[in-house]
């Protein structure tokens, strides 16, 4: 009953937000939603399957740019297909998946740090393409993002729409789309994790050889999860593009990828809720600090001498949060919440299999 009330309250609050809060909050919230979708994706890969990826930002870029390319009308300078925007969004997610699939010779064979650093190449290579393939991407300045139009309903500022006397512009409309996408992403990921694929993924993480012997095609599964995680990245990219209304290559860099890793560690590895919590934390923290920099001790408003600027404070805090979580909160924020809610404590075991003799990894 308690749970039920909590969920009801949360849902109601989420529905109410656009009626009360201004553009800044809506935009911040929508960025957080996009981050949540992306974080769920990388948590499937890194948290649930144990595959480290530092290239997640690349797939966001693929999703964002593919959406723009598919939906935009071609001009003399910029290419485009002018497809219906809904179709373009779906195709963009598919293209992100295909991009992940093209990486599968690497994604299926490598693991751990090797995969992590190999995926760096996606970021650097990807940005190189984004900067240079100007006909597709608009180069350095990026491209304007066409408004989404679903079944005649436009997620833009026009035509004017007033709900309960509150004007509904792009952000207000996208808010509900964002909520729906996050909810769907969560439900889908839960299904995957609780079902047959999730068991295989967890076993690959916990005991790769056992997974193979039990009939799980390990390399194919690794590649498959990579593709799925890429598609989540692509969807996050599409939503981000819609909120941004412009795609710019600079944004999809190493830092964004690292942010995603920080999100899942802070939130809680391997779970859907953890990914969402971490995404909220990492994407809201800097905005809140900036907004309230005047009233937070030690943090100086930008442009005033002395003190730590909000942007720096946010980075230091979130770096410290990553370290703190790993040292003191093995379950991440999600684990902390579970503890606070006094649920029976979940099992806390080392992430590796406990069998002692498997530690030595080298050839006998």
């Amino acid at each position: 009953m308690y749970r039920y009330l909590a969920w009801t309250g949360l849902t109601a609050v989420l529905f109410l937000v656009p009626f009360y809060l201004d553009g800044f909050w809506l935009q911040t919230g929508l960025f957080a939603m996009s981050a949540a979708i992306g974080a769920i994706g990388i948590n499937l890969l890194t948290g649930a399957t144990g595959q480290l990826s530092m290239g997640h930002a690349f797939f966001l870029a693929v999703g964002a740019y593919a959406y723009v390319f598919f939906s935009a009308e071609p001009t003399a300078r910029l290419g485009g297909l002018g497809l219906p925007t809904g179709l373009a969004a779906v195709l963009a997610v598919v293209v992100a998946g295909v991009a992940g699939g093209l990486f599968s010779p690497i994604a299926g064979r490598l693991k751990g740090a090797y995969l992590g650093i190999a995926t760096f190449a996606l970021i650097f290579g990807g940005q190189h393409v984004l900067f240079n393939a100007e006909h597709l991407t608009g180069g350095f300045n990026g491209r304007a993002v066409p408004e989404l139009d679903l079944f005649g309903f436009s997620f833009g500022d026009t035509p004017e729409l007033i709900v309960l006397q509150v004007p509904f512009g792009t952000l207000e409309r996208l808010w509900f789309l964002g909520l729906a996408l996050v909810a769907l992403s969560m439900v889908f990921a839960r299904g995957v994790l609780k079902g047959r694929p999730g068991r295989a993924m967890n076993t690959i993480r916990d005991h790769e050889i056992a997974a193979g012997v039990m009939g799980v095609p390990v390399a194919r599964y690794r590649a498959g999860v990579f593709v799925l995680s890429s598609m989540y990245g692509g969807l996050a990219g599409v939503l981000l593009a819609l909120v941004f209304q412009r795609t710019v290559p600079e944004y999809f860099g190493v830092l964004l990828s690292l942010d995603y890793l920080a999100m899942i560690v802070i939130g809680g590895l391997g779970s859907v809720g953890g990914a969402v919590l971490g995404a909220l934390f990492v994407s809201l923290l800097p905005q809140l600090l900036t907004k309230y920099s005047d009233s937070i001790p030690l943090v100086a408003a930008p442009g005033t001498p002395g003190g730590v600027s909000p942007a720096e404070a946010a980075r230091i805090l979130y770096g410290a949060a990553v370290v703190t979580v790993v040292l003191f909160l093995p379950g991440g924020l999600l684990g902390l919440i579970r503890k606070i809610r006094l649920r029976p404590p979940r099992l806390r075991l080392p992430l590796s299999s406990p069998s002692p003799e498997t530690r030595s990894p080298h050839v006998p």
Binding site: R109, A118, A121, I209, R315, G319, A320, V322, L327, T358
Partner: protein
């Protein structure tokens, strides 16, 4: 031809500096199985101290202090964070070093602010000419120093008690402990050595032809990642070869970018990563890395 030789020599010398960074990276991995993404911040810490201290104590003393301080910071990371992080997953340990990196780098860039800090080195912008080939003196010093440090490191690794303890611990930590090797000291010293090497690398990354150290310096450390990986994360030889490959690739691709304009300009930055991908496709554990084979 002259251009080619110039680019090659330049690539080798900068590659040697990358090798210093990659070597530290590999040493940490061997000793603690941690992929240290905080390496960039160690580099920045060492460089920053050298740059700030040389006006006060002179270049050589500043260099010594900078190297020592970077070593100390690294050892502190090992002692305060890595040792206490009770997680078996290497991915999580890698992510925790990202957190450490963010904290240290943010604080240092805040300190550096908007300055470009000169390193106070005695070589200035002198160049040396061999035939038609010109090479900055700093680059020769970098090459010689890197070669000397790497040689010294490899000799120490091979012949000193510390080196034997390191290798023993890297090969089989438990057995090493059974033989009386103090693993805590070994891993802390590995981090310290890596920090020191990074500080030396920072010096050479910030002297001529670069104008000095500023907040973006730590980004250069990113190039040591492909160097370390393509050589093989657990191979010191690999770090050397990887560093040189990255240095030469970068130099060649930048120098000949006009002849490769079809790849898009600015390919010099991307090329190291592409080379890395190709090598990993053929050898998933890098050129000299040990292929893992689990016991069941």
């Amino acid at each position: 031809m002259t251009t080619f030789v110039e680019l090659l020599v330049n690539g080798i010398s900068i590659g040697a500096v990358y090798a210093l960074i990659a070597l530290g990276f590999v040493v940490i991995f061997k000793a603690t199985e941690v992929v240290n993404f905080a390496h960039a911040s160690l580099l920045l810490a060492g460089g920053y101290l050298i740059a700030r201290l040389w006006p006060l104590v002179g270049f050589w003393a500043a260099l010594l202090i900078g190297v020592a301080a970077a070593a100390l910071v690294a050892a502190a990371i090992e002692f305060l964070v890595i040792r206490r992080a009770n997680v078996a997953s290497h991915s999580v340990l890698a992510i925790v070093t990202i957190g450490v990196d963010i904290v240290i780098t943010t604080e240092l860039t805040r300190q550096i602010g908007t300055d470009v800090l000169a390193m106070g080195d005695p070589w200035g912008s002198q160049v040396v000419r061999f035939g038609g080939v010109t090479l900055a003196e700093t680059r020769i010093v970098a090459l010689v120093t890197a070669a000397a440090l790497i040689t010294a490191f490899l000799l120490a690794f091979k012949y000193t008690g510390w080196g034997v303890a390191m290798r023993a611990a890297a090969e089989d930590a438990e057995t090493a402990a059974l033989m009386g090797v103090r693993l805590g000291r070994v891993s802390m010293s590995a981090w310290a050595v890596a920090g020191g090497l990074a500080a030396v690398a920072a010096l050479f990354l910030c002297v001529f032809p670069t104008p000095g150290l500023d907040r973006s310096t730590s980004l250069v450390a990113l190039k040591a990642f492909p160097a370390a990986i393509l050589g093989g994360l657990d191979s010191t030889t690999g770090a050397l070869v990887g560093g040189l490959i990255i240095g030469v690739t970068e130099s060649m691709m930048s120098g000949y970018q006009n002849d490769m304009a079809f790849l898009g300009r600015g390919i010099g930055d991307v090329a190291p990563f592409l080379v890395m991908l190709v090598i990993l496709l053929i050898r998933p554990a890098g050129l000299f890395g040990t292929k893992e084979l689990a016991r069941v």
